[in-house]
Each structure stands twice: as structure tokens, then as C-alpha cells.
Symmetry: C2
Subunit: 429 residues, 2 copies
């Protein structure tokens, strides 16, 4: 990790910049697949599956019996862990249910706002080196709690499971745990296209969630232009750790490495006041890195990572707010007081016993979080992501009399006579 | 208005389709202006103002004295109306403040979620035929209630007010009423560019709000790709009215016309069970239309508008949910029961005394709403639009012991050893 000692504030922006992502370069390739699926449906999804996933998925839909018997292949302790994580995630997201907010703004003028589930949502779970059943829980459980009627899940089939359902049993068990029954063997751009436009088997949805590689990210951006909502703009995962003398260097090192192993483009930032702490963390990292199966990935990520030594805690907080990390770990004295002053972050981990990995899997908070500085304006996925809030107003005749003049005057001043008339005609004797 | 009698469900999608908006066609033009402002700053904003607004704005920033003395030019009744509307909007949006949600998902595992204001937001108020001070209230008041620190307002200068501040006094008075002090005379694509990238005078913001013509809409979409959040995708304004025998044809006609006068591309849909009601509404519209100053605009909008006669109320509700109107007026018996069954709409107006114009100006609900079918997945602007929700977790040592095994097992199953280590190292004796 590169060390930057007492950089000036004017240098922060450059220092904290993430690598630019050039989605435009992929657009043409991605667009071809999107258009192809739009026209050709299931058969085209299967064609791309043979090409990219290296297998013919057969029926795209996974039948319910396969989902229900998935657990037979899994160790009990993994099933229990998934169930415990699901219980915690469910509890945290159920807390986010909000009541109808109603107010009479003037006598006879009643206004309210109500949460209504998005009727049709699509969840995308990428394939790759590991089965991301944790992400499945993070998306499916809030969708169920919100009350989405049609929850479609797409995930690429893998030749590793060609004998069975084509999908990892932990994925199927997590889906079963969350109560998801419409699972389709489709991945990559073709899965995003299928959920955006619909095919013979895969229903079109109104909003698409989930992580993915740069092609999937680009596909989500393109279908967003066509009026399909998406969860949030995506970028490489990242962590910032603020550590002071109360931090344990071995713990900090483990946290930094757990981010670094995600991918070669992972972003890792350590902010400290004391240079000696930085050295002790680095030594620990070298030691721990050797033990990691994914040490090659982590090593590449760490080459782009930064240790920033600042003058004091105030400066650290300002710098962390400027960075707007997806994950922010506060390994410091009085982390509650520091957390109060954090205004830009996806999820915050307080104290020495709150590693990022508890949030990644099981504490209950959602791990789908804004990256790439988007935490300045975006929230992570939550129950809110699966609902919209509709507003309502109901006036009595007297209510309209009370507010009518206000509306008439404003409408006239904006030059909108018909807007005024809609009131006047109702109040005319 | 074209009348469609008992269309089959299979025809609904085509019948309810909005005109396609081809933003791509404008992209090149808009991109030139964005890039130009990014490099050239204030001087380029002024150059485009001379070109498009027909005046040199001079200093881009409106000085506070000008804002504070704006009311001198305004009739008292307009000032009072603006203040009344502001009071109602403030009351409704203050109801949307939400407390911290905290839960201990397992003993020693505390998780919570907190609303934090987006630090820097930009509000765009278009110029054009009328001063949209109502939109200013709808955006500025929630931003203030949310606690956004830097609220930047851009609106194009007009030669009509060249002698004064270059802006309509009602715009300035509404800004003053809402407590907005950083107002800039900048409009169109150049204003969006200035708020996205910053200029010498105009600060860069994290999220941009507000309506605009197709160029402004395109500019917002393009800066969104660069990581600037925007309020929502925009399209022409629209209303759907469901009316039964209890409706007053003159009221319904007035509501339809108030939408039609917005612009030639406004979308107006009337859904009825009884063909006779449709005829009576149409007669009323012909009569009222003659009195309107904007009758030319309304006439064009009505040519693309539709009356749809359905079999019964159930079918009407299904059709309205499929359409997902920005504004939905329920001029029918028991509107509360019908409203309960609406799952896709921006804002709903219940009963014969709740015209859309009360929501446009003063009932308290927000008038920045999802158009173009986006109400299926998007909410209108609310307090939520100006905050993000950060999640937090804090574990005690015992808490980590309680959840640790779950995290270790899941991390190992996903092949992420360093994630597991971050727990193991903390629990090792």
C-alpha cells in the first residue's frame, strides 16, 4: 500500500479519486445482446448461455421440486448459518416498514403518503468464482417483506452443477429460505435483457437489482434509459478504515485484506493519525496475506490502495466524508461520537469487534451499498428500494373553500387559467 | 379526445403507451454544451445565456438584498398565497422525518439506520412562459427540512426583468420564503453543467432536481452517468381521471383541461364505465376550452388524449394500474376503497372536491412526480429525495462470539477466506 503523509486538503480530491470506469466502451457489445434477446427471447438467452456459461441450461425455469430438495446436498452448519443470517436480515429490514403518514394541512384538506410495493422486481445474482447466496438473501428478503408480488431471480447456470439443477445448492437453499420460487438459469447481459423486456419464460419486471461484472453493469445502465429502474450505479467494492491507538493492528490488517480479496479492482483506504500504527498494520498485512488462497487478487488490489496519515481526528473525519466510502470501519476510541460526524458512507462499522464481514453476511444490515463515492447521494439497498411511496389528498367541499383562493391566485400568477378554473368551477354557486 | 370502447386487455399496452422520447437525438448537442461549461466555467454559462435567454446575466449570483426586497413588486394576495402553500408543503414534508431505527438482531449485535441529509443539492427551475415559483417551493422546502447544507438554485434570467434582478419577483419571493439564498441566473443545459461540475461562482452539487425541457432532461441523464444523482427520469405531465355516475361532468372536464394546458405533449386519459358520462364530459370540455387563454396548447394535447370506456370498476382499476399515471383523480363513489386498490400512481386525488390543481400548488403533497409510467417503480420527490440512509453496526466482543460462527461458515462457503479471518482473528484466544 502506498503511504501518503499529511497531504494538503487541496490534494484530497485527486488522492481519493477512484479509477474511471469507461462503460461507454462496452456499450456497443452490450447493446447487441440486449437487442438480440428483445427479439429472440428464450432461445437467444440459451444461445448466450452456451456461449458464455459453457452449458445449455435446458429449461430456463428451475422447477420447485429442485428448489425444495436443494438442501440435501448441503452441510447442516451451512444451512443453519444461512437461516441465522436470514433471520437477522429479516429483523433489520422489518424495522424499516413505515406507517401511513397522514396530516390535515388545513381544515378539510387531508394529505397522506403510503408505501406500496413495486409489483414486479428482478434480482440478479452473478456466477463466478463463488456462489453469492449472501447477496441473494440481501435482495430477496427485503423484496418479500415489502410485498412485491412477482419476484424473479436470474443467475447463470454452471457446468460444475450440470448433473443437478445447474445451480449451486446453496443458491437454491438461500432462495428457498427467502421464499423465492421463480428462479431462472440465465446470467450476464442476457439475464438483464430478459428481465427488462420479458421472454417466453422470464417475466419483464419494473426494477432490476443486483451486482455483476462490467457488462452487467452496463446492461443495467442501458435498460434504465428504457424506463426500467435499477438499484443503483455500481462500481468496485471498497472499504475505508479509520484507526487510532486503541485499534488492534492485526484486526485492521484483516479488515483491509478482506476487502482486497474481493477483486483486483477493490479499493482499500486506511486513515491514521499515527505513522507507527500504519507500519504495524502493514507488517500484519504482509504476514496474513501469505495465508490467503486469494492472495494474488489481494496483492493486485493492495497495489492501488492507500494509507493516508493525517494531522488529527478532525482532519480524518473530513477526509472520510470527502471519500464517501461504501464500507467505513471506525477502529477508534469513542466510535459513536465519530460516527455522529460521518455524513457520507454506505455502512459504518463501530469499534474493534465489528469487522466488515459481519455486515457482508449476517449482522442484518444490507450489503448492497453505494460505491465509487455515490454514498454522497445514494443509500444502500433497503426496504425502501422495493417500494414506492404514493401520495394522496382528499378535500371536503369546505376544505376546497379553505384552500381554493390560494390555488386560484397561484395558478393565475403562473399563467395557468385551466388550473384555476378547476377550483373556481367547483366553488361556483 | 379519441374514444375507445371496451378495448380488450391484450390491447391495453399499446393503447396506454406514451409517445417515445428520443433523447439520443439531442445527446450530441447537449454534450457539447456540458463539455464547454466544464472547461470554461462562468464565462461559458454567460455566453450561452446571451445566446439562449437573450440577455447577459452579469453577475451570475443574485445578491441577498435583491432576494430580500423582491416582495416589493408583488401583490399582497400572491405573497399570502405563496406563504400558505409553503406552510402546507412544509407541514406535509415534516411528517416524513423518520427516527433512527435500531434493533439488536442478536445479543450484542446492534444495527441501526439513520437519515442523513445530502450535503449539496442543486435545484433547477425552468424559465419559459410562466414563473414556476410553485416548483421552487416543492424542491426547496424539503431540501431545507432535510437539512441539506448547500442548496444551490439555478433559473434562467429573462429579458422581461432586465431592469431588475433578471428574475421574476415571485421566484425570488418563493426562494426567500423557503430560505434559499444561493440563487444563480443560469438556465438550460449550461445550468445543469454548472451544478454538476462547478464553475467559479456556481458550486458543484451531488444531486440535481427539477423539471425542464428535453435538453435539460437529456443533460440530467448525461451527468447522471458521471455520478451526479438526479431526482427522477422526466417526461411530459399527465393525468388519468376515473369517473362514475357520481362525478360532475363539468368538474371532470375542468380537470382534464388543466392537464391539457400544460403543454402540447401533455397526456390526458379519462376512464369511465358509462358512455353517456363520456359524452357529457366532452360537451363540457368543448364549452370550457373556448374560455382558455392557452386553448391552442390544450387543443393539441387533447388530440392525443383518450377516453376509454371499460366494462366495470374492476377493469377500470386494472387499467389504471397498468397505466401508472403521474396524477390520478378518482371522481367516483367510495374513492377511499378504490384508492386502496391503486398500486401504480404518483399522486392520487380522491373525490369530487380534490382537483389536481390543489396538489400542484398548495395541498401540501409534492408536485414533482413520476411520469411516463415510471410510477410503477419510482416515488415522487419527498423528504426521502434529499437524504440518504446510512446503516451502522456495533458489536460487543460477546456479540461477535454469538454471530462469528455464522459469518465464518458463510464466508468459507463463498470462498472468501480473508472475510472469515477478520472474524477468526478477533475471536482467537
Amino acid at each position: 500500500m502506498k503511504v501518503f503523509t499529511l497531504p494538503e486538503r487541496t490534494e484530497w480530491k485527486k488522492l481519493l479519486a477512484r479509477p474511471a470506469i469507461d462503460a461507454a466502451a462496452l456499450e456497443q457489445k452490450v447493446k447487441v445482446i440486449l437487442d438480440d434477446v428483445k427479439v429472440g427471447g428464450d432461445e437467444v438467452v440459451k444461445k448466450y448461455s452456451r456461449q458464455f456459461d459453457g452449458m445449455d441450461p435446458g429449461d430456463l425455469r428451475v422447477d420447485e421440486n429442485t428448489i425444495n430438495t436443494s438442501e440435501q446436498g448441503l452441510p447442516d452448519e451451512l444451512k443453519q448459518a444461512i437461516q441465522q443470517a436470514a433471520a437477522n436480515i429479516r429483523a433489520f429490514h422489518e424495522k424499516q416498514l413505515s406507517p401511513v403518514e397522514m396530516i390535515e394541512t388545513m381544515p378539510g384538506v387531508k394529505c397522506w403518503r403510503k408505501s406500496v410495493a413495486i409489483e414486479k422486481v428482478g434480482l440478479y445474482i452473478p456466477g463466478g468464482t463463488a456462489p453469492l447466496f449472501s447477496t441473494l438473501l440481501m435482495l430477496a428478503l427485503p423484496a418479500k417483506i415489502a410485498g412485491c408480488k412477482e419476484i424473479v431471480l436470474c443467475t447463470p447456470p454452471s457446468a460444475d452443477f450440470a448433473g443437478g439443477a445447474g445451480l449451486h445448492p446453496a443458491i437454491l437453499f438461500a432462495a428457498k429460505t427467502a421464499g423465492i420460487t421463480r428462479i431462472f438459469k440465465a446470467g450476464g447481459v442476457q439475464a438483464i435483457a430478459a428481465m427488462a423486456f420479458g421472454t417466453e419464460s422470464i417475466p419483464a419486471v419494473y426494477k432490476i437489482f443486483g451486482p455483476g461484472n462490467q457488462y452487467v453493469t452496463c446492461a443495467k445502465q442501458l435498460v434504465q434509459k428504457d424506463g426500467i429502474a435499477i438499484d443503483m450505479p455500481a462500481g468496485p467494492s471498497e472499504v475505508a478504515v479509520y484507526a487510532d491507538d486503541t485499534a488492534n493492528p492485526a484486526f485492521v490488517a484483516a479488515d483491509l485484506l478482506s476487502q482486497a480479496e474481493h477483486g483486483p479492482d477493490s479499493q482499500v483506504v486506511l486513515v491514521v493519525v499515527a505513522p507507527t500504527l500504519a507500519q504495524r498494520v502493514q507488517k500484519e498485512m504482509e504476514k496474513q496475506l501469505l495465508q490467503l488462497p486469494r492472495k494474488q487478487i489481494a496483492t493486485i488490489a493492495l497495489e492501488n490502495s492507500k494509507i493516508i496519515i493525517v494531522r488529527n481526528q478532525d482532519e480524518a473525519i473530513d477526509l472520510l466524508n470527502e471519500y464517501a466510502a461504501e464500507h467505513l470501519i471506525l477502529s477508534c476510541a469513542h466510535p459513536e461520537a465519530v460516527a455522529e460526524r460521518i455524513i457520507n458512507a454506505g455502512s459504518v462499522f463501530l469499534g474493534n469487534y465489528s469487522p466488515e464481514s459481519v455486515g457482508d453476511y449476517a449482522s442484518g444490515t444490507n450489503h448492497t451499498l453505494p460505491t465509487n463515492g455515490n454514498a454522497r447521494a445514494y443509500s444502500g439497498v433497503s426496504l425502501d428500494s422495493f417500494i414506492k411511496k404514493i401520495t394522496y389528498q382528499q378535500l371536503t367541499e369546505q376544505g376546497l373553500k379553505n384552500i381554493g383562493r390560494t390555488v386560484e391566485i397561484m395558478a393565475a400568477a403562473e399563467g395557468l387559467q385551466a388550473h384555476k378554473n378547476a377550483v373556481t368551477i367547483r366553488l361556483s354557486p
